[in-house]
Structures are given as structure tokens and as C-alpha cells.
Symmetry: none
Subunit: 190 residues, 4 copies
DNA sequence: TATGAATGAGCCTTCATTCAT
DNA sequence: GATGAATGAAGGCTCATTCAT
């Protein structure tokens, strides 16, 4: 009894995700260059060759991981999709951000790795901008609506601070004072 | 008749620095793994082998670069070395920080590369802490003296923000609104 | 459709032996250090990289060769496996020894190379002892049964002489008076 | 006050010997390839360059060591230089041999290393023969005078046994039953 | 005579990628 | 779709030897 095309496709998607997750774990733990295709294959319990059935190269693989990760992040940001952030949404967003980072620690480790390694950054620059530009637009709008005279600088500082916090949180997640930091951010940036 | 010991020593120090500078350029530009010893040799206009006359391994080389860089940074921080930061010193420090980053862009690229690549981070973790711990102690003291009730969280947030700003500045130095950001930081964090 | 596990295994065993034989030839002919992985690959008509698919390092490779060789030797010694050597078995053993050396000249060259190169000896010391200790036990038993008062010294002298003969035979096999030497040994050591 | 030419020459000879001794130690301990010129220089407390002032190459150096060692051995063998060995001289020779080996353990380690490494053997083959041929001539003469019908085989077996004993002694000098072995040799080979 | 910086060839090893099965 | 043997380029590193001083 042959499977339907649908079933095949679903299987492929599942396996593809499985490979990406295995790779993400290793990339985040060891770095891009220090992770070999062999290691990924072993971790995913498949053969080396099969990886090339799903991704054309190691670079395509990390590209796919980063793209996917940002796609997910994008969906969770700006809840009602109107491009406008109210104070309540802003607070909710801060909450969400820590939540997302905590749940996807691996991915954010990868993110910083990518950002600080030019050779890898090139691969994902475009996708990154696709996410960051709307983010800055919304944040700038938020400060504009508050009537600040330099909303762009505010937005950039806020973005930078978020990067910094993520970085620090990621380096030592267990000792980071999450709740108190949230409060302080809200106090200072709203 | 051989050179005097003095002559040899001077030669070594000079050449060592030359190698470190060449390596820093490439590490910052391409990343640690993507930079080969061959490339460093070519950039420094010396033979591959000579590098190993000055550094036992590629890892030792990056270690030396990071150590050196932090040593310099350490000297410029806390101007009067009393471990106490006044408001004026704080403002001066913000100024200095941007200055230092601007002048040593390469080094700070390297710094983020190091922090976000576990395999490299291990090599310099100790030295890094040697610099960061006093920094946090002083910052915590600063907020304590201001009578805030959670000086540690303030200090961490400030540190994180500084990381984030450096990172953003570093990625796109030409379009970063330096002066306005400085003002905003002072306004928000003093 | 991939090969069956069976097919892969057979392939591996065959290729592994092929590599070991190629390596043995060269090690025996040129010495361990003077034989490069490149040379072995060329002799085996495979790529350098493939050798590392079968052996983790050059050291592992020589280790495997020595282990294998001794394993074979061990099987041919002490024919009826009772741990006791009769006069007839002793004579047979002398015969066998020359035979084995003659047939595995390469391997015995390697053996002396190994024994006299500390850095290589370390690698195979354990395996060597695994073979030599039972050999000495049996030889000591042989002289004990003859009622000699210093069977251990007899056994050692016999072993030493065998080493020496092998060494001399190996250096110039064509001019070595095999048959007459056998007779003389039997005459002197029985 | 300039030194006389004589004094210069003596100094050169002394330094040359010093280098050779340092090198011998290391060659015997680590093997020829595993010993670098740098290590020899360090052990001799001189510069790398100076070694090349005394020896044209690493190969020349080991050659000189082996030549020198055999020269010394040759002098101590056949005490009265008449080319004839009496029973007493033979016994004395056995004694001497163990003595010499014990006193020059390093050198004899080197000897076996050399013999079993074709690449090195080539370098000293000629010199070796220069010593071995007279040795065999004398030993053959010894057995001829005793009226044996195969004096050459006797001589070769004796030589081989001496090699074997030296090898075994060298591998584990502390546990070798020197005195008893001497007795046994005399008993069996005279 | 003596030094050690400098070279460059060559070594061991790794790994992304291909391909026959 | 799936396997893993096989390749080949490149990387880090060592070391005999040379040479300016």
C-alpha cells in the first residue's frame, strides 16, 4: 500500500526538522566550524549522505536554521499585527522576549554566534534584516507616539539593550535576575 | 658575533606585536576558524613557521591577543584607580568607552566573536573575568552610593546595555548615532 | 538502496588488511617515522583520507599491525596447546620459527624496529608481553623438566639467542646458514 | 694573549664530544627522528647554529657518534692485537663485553636502533662492517683452532647470541641475570 | 666562534562533499 | 530514500637548515 504524496511530504518535513534540531544543538554548543557533518549525522542517527538529500551544503543548513528561527520569532512579535505597540503590548512583549529566549536558548546562542562571525553573518544577513527592520519601525513608532523628539535613537538603544541582555542571559542563564531586570527595563524604557 | 640579548629581545617584542596585529585584523574580519595560520603569515609578510617561534599554537595566539587587549582596556578604566566612580567619572567613562571602541573596533569585534564561540571562550574565560569582576564591583558601588535598592541589577543591566551598544555599534559603525546615544545613556543610567 | 551490513563489513575487513599490508611493507623497509601516511596511501592506491576511515592515527595503524602479527605467531607456537614442550616439539618449534620468520620477514623487521625504538615500543609493549610471558613460561618449564638447576637463565639465554639469530637472519637472509644453525641450536640448547 | 692553535683544536674536540654525548643521550632515549636539533642544542646548552659548525647535518652527527663508539669498542677487543683468541682471552672478552655494554648502555641502544632502521643503517653500514668483519674472522679462527668442522656457523651463532643478549639486556638491564648468563655462555660456547 | 630569527618543505589529520550500491 | 566508503583540499604544526649579525 503506497503512501500518499501527502504522507511523503510530511515525512520529509519531519526529518528535515529533525536534522535542523540536531544541527542547532551542536552549532550552539560547539560553534559552526567545530561542528562537522559527521557529528550532526550521528546526533540525528542518520547517515552523512542523507543530510545532503535535505540540504545542499553545510552553509545551506545553518541558513535554514536561522531563517526558520526568525520566522517563528516574527510570528510571536506584534501580537495583533497592526504594526502599533501599545504600552500593554510593550510590557507583554518584554515578557514574551524573555520567554522566547529562555525556551530557545540554543537558537539565541546561535544568533550571537552568527552575528559575530562575519563569514557566517553573510549567509543570513538578508533574513536578519527582514526581521529587524519591521522591529525597529514598530519601536520607533512606539516612541514617536509618546512624543519623544529622538524616537529613532530610543528605538536603537532599546534594541541594543535587548541584544546585550540576551547575550548576558545566554552566557549565564541560571544566575540572571530575570524578573528584576524586566521591571527595570519597563521602568526605564516606557 | 651574535646580537646582544637586548637586541634580540627588542626584535622579538616588535615582531610579536606585528604578528598579533596581523592576526587580530584577520580574526576580526573573518572569524577564528576561518582564519588560517597561512593567511596570518601572508598578511604579516613572514613565513608560517615563524609564527610558531612566537606562539605555541593558534589558540595561544588568540589568547595573547585577548589578554593584551583587555590589559590595555583595564588601564583606561577607573581613571583615578580608587575603585569609586563619581558622576563626573561615570560620564567620562561613557565617553571613554565609545572612544576606546571606536579606536579598537577590530578588538571589540574579536571580543564578541570570542564571547559567542564556546570553543574560543574557554580559552580566555579566566582573563575575561579578571576584567569583568572589578568592573561590576565598581558599577554596583556606583548605584549603591546613589541609594538604589537593587544596585546589582542596575549594574548588570548597565553592563548588558553596554555590550549591546558595542555590538550594534560594531556591526554598523558609520550609521550609529553616537552622540545622541551617549546623552540618552547618561539620562537613563545616572 | 544501500549495501547490506554484511557487504559493508566484508569490504571493510578486506580494505583494512590491504592498508595494513601496504603499511607493513613500508614500515619494515623504511622505518616508522620515515614512512609517511602519503606513502602508505600511494602504495595502497587509495587516498590519504581513507586511511583515517580505518585507523584513528598512524600510531593506531602500527599498533594494529603488531597486534595482528603476534596474534598469528601465537597460534603457531606450542602446537598442542598443553603448555608443555617435549623434545620433539622443541625441535619442531625451531623449525617453525625459521619458517615463520622466513615467511614474514617484513613483520620481523618491524618487530626489531619496534623493540629498539622507545617511542614505538610504548605503543605495543602490552601486547608484546602478552606473547612473551607465556613463551618464557613454557621454555622455563622445558628446562625444569630436564632437571637443570637454573632453568630461568637457560630460558632467557635461549630467548636472547633466538632474538639475535632472527636479527642476523633478517639483516641478510640470503647468506644465513639456516640448516646448519638449526642443528647447532638443537645440539646446544636441548 | 691568543691561544695557541693547539689549544683551539683541543677546545673544538672537547665541544664536539660534548655535542655528541648530548645527542647520544637523546637519540638513545627518544629515537633518531624523535630527537630534534633544537633538543640537542638545549641539552648541550649551546645554540642550534653552533651544531652545524661541527657537523654538516643531523645524519653526519649520528654517523659520527656510531663511528666513534665502534672505534672505542674495537680498541678494547682482542687485547693483544694478534688476531688470535685464546680460551682465557675469550673468557676475558665475555667479561669485557658485558662490562662495555653496561658502561655504554646508551650507545648500545643506539646501535640496535641503527641496525633496525634501514634509513639510518645505510648511514653507518660501512663502518659497522669494518668492525664486524675482523670480529667474525677472529671468532672463526677461534673455533677453527678448536678443530670444529663448521667454525663459521659457530662464529655466526655466537655473534647472533651476543646480539640477542645485548638486546635483551638493554631492554631491561636491572633484571638481567648477568653473572649466570656469562657462566652459561662460557659453558656452551667454549 | 656563536646566536637565534627565519624559512619552507613536508607531516599528520580533518572534513565537506560525492557516488556506487 | 539511504548508506557509508572514498576523495582531495586544506589546516595546524614541526623541524632541519641557513644566515645576518
Amino acid at each position: 500500500m503506497p503512501r500518499t504524496e501527502e504522507q511523503f511530504k510530511e515525512l520529509r518535513v519531519k526529518k528535515r526538522n529533525h536534522i535542523m534540531n540536531s544541527a542547532l544543538d551542536l552549532f550552539a554548543q560547539k560553534g559552526f566550524d567545530a561542528t562537522s557533518i559527521s557529528m550532526i549525522a550521528k546526533r540525528a542517527s542518520i547517515s552523512k549522505g542523507l543530510i545532503y538529500n535535505y540540504f545542499n551544503s553545510k552553509e545551506e543548513l545553518i541558513k535554514a536554521i536561522v531563517h526558520d528561527g526568525f520566522e517563528k520569532f516574527f510570528v510571536e512579535f506584534d501580537p495583533n499585527k497592526d504594526g502599533i505597540l501599545t504600552d500593554e503590548e510593550f510590557i507583554y512583549f518584554i515578557d514574551m522576549t524573555f520567554d522566547i529566549i529562555q525556551k530557545n536558548l540554543q537558537f539565541w546562542k546561535l544568533y550571537f554566534m552568527v552575528v559575530s562571525q562575519p563569514q557566517v553573518m553573510k549567509l543570513v544577513e538578508e533574513k536578519l534584516m527582514e526581521v529587524l527592520i519591521p522591529f525597529f519601525r514598530i519601536m520607533t513608532g512606539f516612541y514617536e507616539n509618546k512624543g519623544y523628539d529622538n524616537p529613532i535613537v530610543h528605538a536603537r538603544l532599546f534594541g541594543a539593550m535587548l541584544d546585550g541582555i540576551s547575550l548576558n542571559f545566554m552566557i549565564d542563564p541560571d544566575n540572571f535576575p530575570v524578573e528584576e531586570t524586566k521591571k527595570l527595563i519597563i521602568e526605564k524604557f516606557i
